[in-house]
């Protein structure tokens, strides 16, 4: 079987699997966030944290919940790393430096999982399992909670009530992420992913010398790494490491885990707003972009351009032979179009265009299908922008799902879309203007620029993948990327929740023949166009000097 055909078949298998899971999972999640009942274990948790899960929250209260919980999580994670040297079960690793501990804490609380450390050489069992793995669950649940709050904003009318943050958070973990993770971890273990608390082993290498490999609860962390679109690998090599991702089957399953919740949330959205077709329109938009990017990526990586490429059957540098170009391209676009950031190959080694596709994927704002929760709310914000710009052309003031997009709504949506470009371009600009940051570059020229552009793109969009090459464990990068991750995660949430509050308070406008039909293919096309043009215009100059200059050079 040719590698191209293999790649296409993997893509098809993935689409079928996602299609099968879409409806049941989406409806199940809608049920979870609409139900009045509390499980016994949930009641214990509420009692433990002293929360009243029945209390209706207006948007400021909901936001306070999000921020307070995340701040506490961050402090806990920071202290855990700082105290690692004195904790048992740390495999003898020392405490993490303040700047790196800050960066890592910010990274995992912001659902980014940018790693300026090497997992196997810095983090022991306690930090990995009690700190990082826990954040993988709760930071993902926070994302879904905020998305659900926005969906409620659309679904409800003349109320300030967006639901209860604590109930949404706990339910996301207990009823969605944990059960799916248990099943997923078992599948991964069956595929050959390790799961133990073993120590460090010295392993002899073929060509002499010794390599140190440690064991760990890898499968359980791997599953939530993908499922919660986190991306922080147990090992530095991430999903390219055979302990994390041993074979093509596990590879395909991991991609499935990355995509399943973000895509299914569109169904949840459709069900909750009372029109599954609206959900399908959003799904179609996400799917079209994801398919387009994947096809482009496969094309550019399979494209033969020189004797080395001819021999390898494409651009194989930095890719694992066990996944090939198909499995690697699929993983690369899926991980960058969601806010996952796990990698099974090295994006820095992709062709110039291929590297550009991974960057552009993140720059879209992680919305196709995006991170768990964040993808949905990001896409809904873009839908609001698209409705606002083009919706006027039907001769009515803009409205989406029966809610008017007025001054307040557009102000919040505009702030939302300002945040990440400001962070990405601002910090990249500052890094290029200063002298020291450039010392971290491995390459010169356009590729060197891409290393820094990629780092801030990844951080501010909460992706977490790295372009490789950049030595990111410096005070400058630990601090700036840490800030980019925090601001890139929580500022948008402020705007989303304020928007949700404003939408929930509105009286819905009834649908007539004069209403813009947002469930039609025409709107999906319009939305794809708006997203590409707005993102393209924002980042075109930067991309031209990085991946485009590199890709067009040949």
């Amino acid at each position: 079987m040719s590698p191209v055909l293999a790649g296409v078949l993997q893509l098809l298998a993935l689409v079928v699997a996602l299609g099968l899971a879409h409806r049941p999972l989406g409806d199940y999640m809608a049920g979870v966030y609409s139900s009045d009942k509390h499980l016994r274990v949930e009641k214990w948790i509420y009692k433990g944290i002293g929360a009243d899960p029945g209390a209706a929250m207006r948007w400021p209260a909901y936001l306070r919940g999000v921020l307070a919980f995340s701040a506490a999580s961050m402090l806990f994670l920071y202290l855990l790393q700082r105290l690692q040297g004195s904790l048992p079960g740390s495999l003898g690793f020392r405490s993490i430096d303040p700047d790196q501990a800050f960066n890592t804490a910010a990274s995992f609380v912001a659902n980014t999982n940018w790693q300026s450390y090497s997992g196997e050489q810095a983090m022991g069992h306690v930090v990995q399992t009690a700190g990082l793995a826990v954040q993988n669950f709760v930071s993902a649940a926070v994302g879904i909670a905020v998305a659900v709050a926005l969906v409620r904003g659309f679904a409800r009318s003349r109320t300030g009530d967006l639901g209860n943050f604590w109930a949404d958070l706990v339910r996301g973990v207990v009823r969605i992420l944990l059960p799916l993770s248990v099943v997923g971890a078992l599948v991964l273990v069956a595929c050959g992913v390790i799961q133990n608390f073993s120590g460090i082993h010295g392993v002899g290498q073929f060509l002499g010398g010794e390599q140190q490999w440690n064991g760990g609860a890898v499968a359980s962390q791997e599953v939530i790494k993908e499922l919660g679109t986190n991306g922080g690998g147990y090992f530095n090599a991430n999903s390219a490491h055979p302990f994390e991702n041993p074979n093509p089957l596990s590879n395909l399953f991991e991609i499935f885990l990355i995509l399943v919740i973000p895509f299914a949330l569109t169904r949840t959205f459709g069900t909750m707003v009372g029109s599954v077709r609206q959900g399908y329109a959003i799904l179609a938009t996400m799917g079209a972009i994801w398919l387009g990017f994947t096809a482009l990526m496969m094309w550019t990586e399979f494209h033969h351009g020189g004797p080395a490429f001819d021999l390898a059957g494409g651009a194989m540098e930095g890719k694992e032979t066990r996944f090939g170009i198909g499995g690697s391209s699929l993983f690369a676009t899926s991980t960058t179009l969601t806010s996952t950031g796990a990698v099974n190959s090295f994006h820095s080694s992709y062709t110039g265009f291929g590297g550009g596709i991974t960057m552009l994927g993140m720059q879209l704002g992680e919305i196709a299908p995006g991170g768990v929760g964040s993808g949905l709310y990001g896409m809904l914000i873009m839908a609001i922008i698209a409705v606002f710009i083009a919706g006027l052309m039907v001769g009515r003031t803009p409205e989406y799902l029966g809610k008017k997009i007025g001054t307040r709504e557009i102000k919040l949506a505009a702030c939302y879309i300002l945040v990440t470009p400001a962070l990405v371009l601002g910090f990249t600009g500052a890094s290029m203007a200063l002298d020291t940051p450039k010392d971290s570059l491995l390459n010169g020229g356009a590729h060197g620029f891409s290393e820094i552009l990629y780092a801030f793109t990844s951080g501010a969009n909460n992706n977490g993948s790295a372009f490789a090459g950049l030595a990111a464990d410096t005070q400058w990068f630990n601090t700036t990327i840490g800030l980019a991750m925090l601001l890139g995660r929580f500022l948008p949430m402020v705007f989303v929740l304020a928007l949700a509050g404003s939408l929930a308070g509105q009286q819905p406008v009834p649908k007539t023949a004069g209403t813009l039909r947002t469930e039609k293919p025409l709107f999906t096309g319009l939305l794809v166009g708006t997203i590409t043009i707005i993102t393209g215009l924002t980042y075109f100059p930067a991309l031209a000097l990085g991946p485009l200059a590199e890709g067009l050079a040949s």
């Binding site: 290029m432 356009a446 060197g448 009834p510 004069g514």
Partner: protein, 713 residues
């Protein structure tokens, strides 16, 4: 004005008589391709005339109101300073010049839009000459002459033939004919009388006959004419909610592009291709949405102006925008859906008589009836039965009995034969007085007609055979031509039409069916109307209505778009957010269309403006960086002749497109009623795809021209 009581609808709410011919007719017979909201006028010479105003608007304090254009202004100043620093560089001067032109063109668009209102304001000012008021002392006795500006609310003033009414008020005593041409442009005088719905007078209009006492209701300086002047001049113009929201989005896009350009310099330095400030300014101005930024306020002013051209004054821009969103139209039956008066539709004989006999008697007896209904009987007899219209003088010895509201009958006594026609009750009484008997058949006929929504009139005669009923005239409401098609269009646009009438439900239903409205409200009282509006609004709908009576005022205030007729009371005019100077209720439909056209124009130009940027990148980025990364020259798909020419072409295109689109901004995009889906598809194709493609062609053409200039390129 006496309205024949027999033909009056109980509780009729429309008493407006359209006073102005050119605007009152329902435009029909438009071809399938005509936009019905005709596009406004645009005279290219206006551009030149408005240049001085455009220059005056360069004041930064004015410019800052449009964040996009303010950035262009800063760019213009900056590039000029840089050009002065390096005066030998033609490129710097060229960019600076075109950036100034970009700024100027934006101001020009606004100045042209405002200029059109100025002419109208000047005419109005002429009417607002300083008048001398004849004020009555509080005890009602002595009369003193005071300047019109010293009048206070509640003052009583006297106006006689030849006097200009000194301020807005209500007639409290007397009847007069008033020339309101200063405001409405209509020269035919209108009647103003105390009490009722025709008591309102407007300052600046002129009393032509008789004497009235007027109670002043508005302070000087806030009168209708003052507000009109402010309105058409644009002085009172405030940004509408959607315009503010769009401005916010445009500002945020400007910030994004500002970031993209500012951070580009360190990237460029690293790449070894440091850019001059001039090039960066050029790039920034090309990227920020200048096209829509420049035209946004002109679009708003022009939208209001299109209303003014139709003699509608919108008291707030918000109302114009709301008009586009309206989903329920409340239309008064009389004057809007049906012609103001009923018309004779057929003659129905009783047994033993022929139709022709009835027609003859009906015509003869209606010759002395000057009401529109009476005239319509004569006309029907002529058209359908070939009965020549006889004149009162032709018949010698005839005694004519004119129609009066008291007798509710008209007729003639000639050659010993007495013919009468009139309201059922009156004619029956007349027949019985003369010893005749009303047959059951006549009653049946009248009942049938009444049930079908018509009004029956009886025709009776007294001759040698005694007094008897000959037959019945069927008077019908005549639905205006083309109304059904219009309601169909409105339905396709998602707008529900509700007919409001004082008729009984049966009659109302018949007319509603004939006209094709979606719903009707029969035997409507002002309270019913109010309840209907509130009910629709509770469902999230926006409601538009017209009204003229004082009892309409609460509903006018409650409606999202309340159009008061100029003939109406001052209370109604105060409550509505629009005034129709022609007092033509049908115009409500046009107002909705103008509102939609305004929003579509705004959306179309925004989409166009943003789509334009793609091509500009393809022109400028290779020009900036192909030196260090030769591969980027592959992006120069337009094959522009040189980097400087490429950048300059993009800047020139960016400036010229503003001027090119001024007519579109002022006239509004072509609007045809259709479903939202089709409208979006059409406009996206036109302005979205068009916006993507147009600059590629335009920039290439400009580059070709520039490359012809020797020493450049």
């Amino acid at each position: 004005m006496t309205v024949p009581t027999e033909q009056e609808e109980p509780g009729s709410m429309t008493t407006a008589t359209p006073t102005r011919a050119p605007h009152q007719d329902v435009p029909t017979g438009h071809g399938p391709d005509d936009g019905r909201v005709g596009q406004g006028l645009f005279d290219p010479a206006q551009l030149l005339r408005s240049v001085p105003d455009a220059v005056r608007k360069l004041d930064p304090r004015v410019m800052v109101k449009s964040p996009v254009m303010f950035v262009v202004l800063i760019g213009s100043v900056l590039t000029t300073l840089l050009a002065v620093k390096d005066p030998g560089d033609w490129f710097g001067w060229a960019i600076a010049a075109w950036l100034w032109l970009t700024t100027l063109f934006a101001n020009l668009a606004e100045a042209v839009a405002e200029g059109r209102g100025k002419a109208q304001a000047d005419t109005l000012r002429k009417a607002k000459t300083d008048t001398v008021a004849r004020r009555l002392a509080a005890d009602g006795g002595a009369e003193e002459r005071v300047p019109g500006t010293e009048l206070r609310v509640g003052d009583l003033v006297v106006c006689e033939a030849g006097d200009v009414i000194p301020g807005d008020g209500d007639v409290v005593e007397g009847v007069a004919s008033v020339d309101e041409s200063a405001i409405t442009g209509e020269s035919a005088p209108v009647i103003r009388e105390s009490g009722g719905d025709r008591s309102a007078v407007t300052g600046g209009t002129k009393v032509l006959s008789d004497r009235v006492v007027i109670k002043i209701t508005t302070k000087p300086g806030e009168t209708f004419i003052d507000r009109m002047i402010n309105l058409v001049e644009g002085a009172a113009r405030q940004k509408t909610p959607n315009e503010i929201a769009l401005n916010i989005l445009l500002a945020s896009l400007t910030v994004v592009f500002l970031l993209a350009v500012v951070t580009l310099q360190p990237f460029a330095v690293y790449a070894g291709a440091e850019q001059s400030m001039i090039v960066l300014c050029a790039l920034l101005v090309c990227l920020i949405p200048t096209t829509i930024g420049a035209l946004l306020s002109a679009i708003g002013i022009a939208g209001m102006d299109r209303l003014v051209q139709r003699n509608v004054l919108a008291m707030s821009g918000r109302a114009v925008e709301a008009a586009g969103d309206v989903s329920t139209l409340l239309l008064d039956k009389t004057g809007t859906i049906t012609l103001g008066n009923r018309r004779a539709a057929e003659f129905v004989p009783v047994r033993g008589t022929t139709e022709a006999e009835v027609a003859d008697a009906a015509q003869l007896s209606s010759l002395a009836d000057e009401t529109p209904e009476g005239r319509s009987i004569v006309v029907l007899a002529k058209e359908k039965y070939g009965l020549r219209e006889r004149h009162q003088g032709e018949l010698t010895g005839a005694e004519w009995i004119a129609f009066t509201a008291q007798t509710r009958m008209s007729g003639v006594d000639v050659d010993g034969r007495k013919v009468r026609k009139g309201a059922t009750g009156s004619v029956l009484a007349w027949v019985q007085e003369r010893g005749g008997t009303a047959t059951a058949e006549a009653r049946e006929l009248t009942d049938t007609i009444a049930q079908a929504g018509g009004t029956p009139l009886l025709v009776a005669v007294e001759d040698a055979d005694g007094a008897r009923v000959l037959g019945v005239i069927h008077l019908k409401d005549v639905v205006k031509e083309g109304m059904r098609e219009r309601f169909d269009e409105l339905r396709r646009m998602g707008i529900k039409t509700v007919m409001i009438t004082g008729d009984n439900p049966l009659t109302a239903k018949a007319i509603a069916d004939e006209a094709g409205v979606d719903d009707f409200l029969a035997e409507a009282t002002p309270e019913d109307k109010m309840a209907l509006i509130k009910r629709e609004q509770a469902g999230g709908k926006l409601v538009a209505m017209t009204g003229d009576g004082t009892n309409d005022a609460p509903a006018l205030a409650q409606a999202d778009v309340g159009v008061a007729m100029n003939t109406g009371t001052s209370a109604a005019k105060e409550a509505g957010n629009m005034v129709d100077l022609d007092s033509n209720p049908t115009k409500l439909i046009e107002i909705v269309e103008i509102g939609k056209q305004l929003l579509i124009t705004r959306g179309a130009l925004t989409t166009f403006s943003i789509a334009n940027d793609v091509a500009k990148y393809f022109a400028i980025i290779p020009a900036m960086f192909a030196v260090v990364y030769p591969g980027l020259d592959k992006l120069n798909i337009m094959d522009l002749s040189s980097p400087k020419s490429a950048i300059l072409s993009a800047v020139i295109f960016n400036a010229l497109i503003i001027v090119a689109l001024v007519p579109l901004a002022l006239k509004g995009v072509r609007y045809r009623p259709m479903s939202a889906d089709r409208m979006l598809r059409r406009n996206l194709g036109l302005y979205g795809l068009g916006g993507l493609v147009a600059p590629f062609v335009g920039i290439k053409l400009i580059d070709l021209l520039i490359s012809l200039i020797p020493g450049i390129g």
